[in-house]
Amino acid sequence: MTATVARRADNTRSRPWRFTTTRREQLAHAAFVIPAFLYVLYFFGYPLGKSLWMSFVDFRTATFITGEAPFVGFDNYAAVLSTPLLPLATVNTIVITAATVVLQLGIGLALATFFTKKFPGNRLFTGMLMLPWLLPLVTTAAVWRWLLRDDGPLLALLALETSPFADPQLALAAVIAINIWLGIPFYVIILTAALQNVPGDQLEAAELDGAGRWGRFWHIALPSIRPQLAVSTTLTIIYTLKVLELPLILTGGGPANATQTLGTVAYALSFKKFEFGQGAAVGNILMLVTLVFAIAYIVLATRKEKE
């Protein structure tokens, strides 16, 4: 990904054939990029610009017919910020993201350490582990909704009497738990690959020096996979901040808005209330927060390559 940014710098120096490319060929190579460039411009640049514009105008259902969208300044932002829903959704989004990152990292690292060992059936099991992550989200969310409904088979196992999705105290915890379950395969695959590259001679040397299993993990394995940990954690933050589909399918944001996120609020404003301007305003706030972590990611990824 952005890791390749820094790799390019080495390539230009180490590959002599590049010096034979002519200016004309460079232009031809640039031409290869044009379709993708136009696509990104039209499907990312333009929507982002439009989202920014929409957040400053009064854009509602009538706009589609009349084409009129009067400029309203920061009214949309003021309107969404003055509702009690937005602070609640912001707190929920932060809670979901923080809990997901910490627990997914912990569980993912533990499982990855386990699956790095060699034992019969290892490959088959790690393959099966990928399933929750590969299935369409709607299907996994549907089965969880069924397992945790009032008569659901999982309630007795959890010593619950009614569905957690109906309980404002438990609904958010249930959404977080399912989100973690969904993301664990990603962590296990990434971190298993990283742990397999930990230098074996260092581990052996540490063992000869009398380091125990825990010591070897803490002092050798963990520091050497730190770049992958940092990158996958930042990616999880970025992807969890925009969480929308999972709460929408599991609870619809309820009960009593207990599982509303910035994503579900933006969705409801635009596609339930047809207040596209306000929906865009919430979407832009979400984009801004995401961008902060994206910059952190770019810094981390480039530093990782330099090391």
Partner: protein
């Protein structure tokens, strides 16, 4: 010593089986529930006594059209994103300028734009050019989601191609387009398949674009079909489970056929 090692390896296999059983517990229930006539009742069994396929018949009767729609959207997404990404990835792997860094960072930012921000704008854009409620509209929207990933994945692969082969072709007088089509594409087939598999899965599993850019009555994907099931007042859970199993089949087939491609893609996704 060897004996003990072997035994401890098998102990680990047993522990792994338990971990998998816990992790796949919901998926086990998904299949079990789909095979029982009344998954909505509290009397549901963990292991079905008889295999009842009636809910599959209902699910397929209801959803055959939406399955077809999803298949076209998924294949279209895979083809469109790979077709646009492949030449661009080649160009970016060969270009030598600061411009490349700008493009790569732009692509990364594009990849993290929240879907709802895109949906919100695409809805208004599509409504003015008549792409709402159309299959091409869904393909274009989904391909915009998979394009940045496909491009970054393919570029990092194409950087590893042996430059001498291309240099030889160039000395033989091959144009850039020719060397791309007859050298780069065949050599990159693994990476192209990986990008295609991820594009397919993104289009097949897409929920947000289908929810926002189609009404669900004139044009409906399988994911929206399932969502409409669970949104109805009296949910027929057996049919929901059967439709969910059907919707999971492409992912399971791809996992069986292309585990290594999926792993490669996941690795690339983490910026490895």
């Amino acid at each position: 010593m060897i004996q003990r090692n072997r035994r401890s390896a098998w102990m680990q296999t047993a522990a792994a089986a338990i971990i998998i059983a816990v992790m796949l517990y919901p998926i086990f229930w998904l299949i079990s529930g789909s095979l029982q006539p009344d998954a909505s009742a509290a009397t549901i069994q963990a292991i079905p006594r008889t295999f009842d396929l009636a809910s599959y018949a209902r699910a397929i009767a209801d959803q055959s059209r939406s399955i077809g729609t999803s298949l076209i959207v998924a294949i279209g997404t895979a083809l469109l994103s790979v077709t646009i990404a492949a030449p661009a990835a080649f160009g970016l792997a060969r270009l030598r300028s600061r411009f490349v860094d700008v493009v790569l960072i732009t692509l990364f930012v594009a990849q993290i734009v929240p879907g709802i921000v895109l949906s919100n704008s695409l809805y208004t854009m599509f409504s003015s050019i008549g792409l709402l409620n159309t299959i091409p509209g869904l393909i274009l929207a989904n391909a915009s989601g998979s394009l940045p990933f496909a491009l970054l994945l393919l570029r990092s692969f194409m950087l590893e191609l042996d430059p001498e082969i291309l240099e030889a072709a160039r000395l033989d007088g091959a144009t850039s387009i020719r060397s791309f089509l007859s050298i780069v594409v065949p050599l990159s087939s693994n990476a192209l398949i990986t990008a295609g598999v991820f594009g397919f899965l993104a289009g097949w599993g897409d929920f947000l674009f289908a929810l926002t850019l189609s009404t669900g009555s004139e044009l409906r994907t399988i994911t929206i079909g399932i969502y409409q099931y669970i949104g109805s007042p009296n949910v027929d859970w057996s049919t929901v489970m059967a439709a969910s199993v059907v919707a999971s089949i492409p992912a399971i087939i791809l996992l069986l056929l292309s585990q290594r491609y999926l792993r490669a893609g996941l690795g690339a996704g983490s910026g490895k």
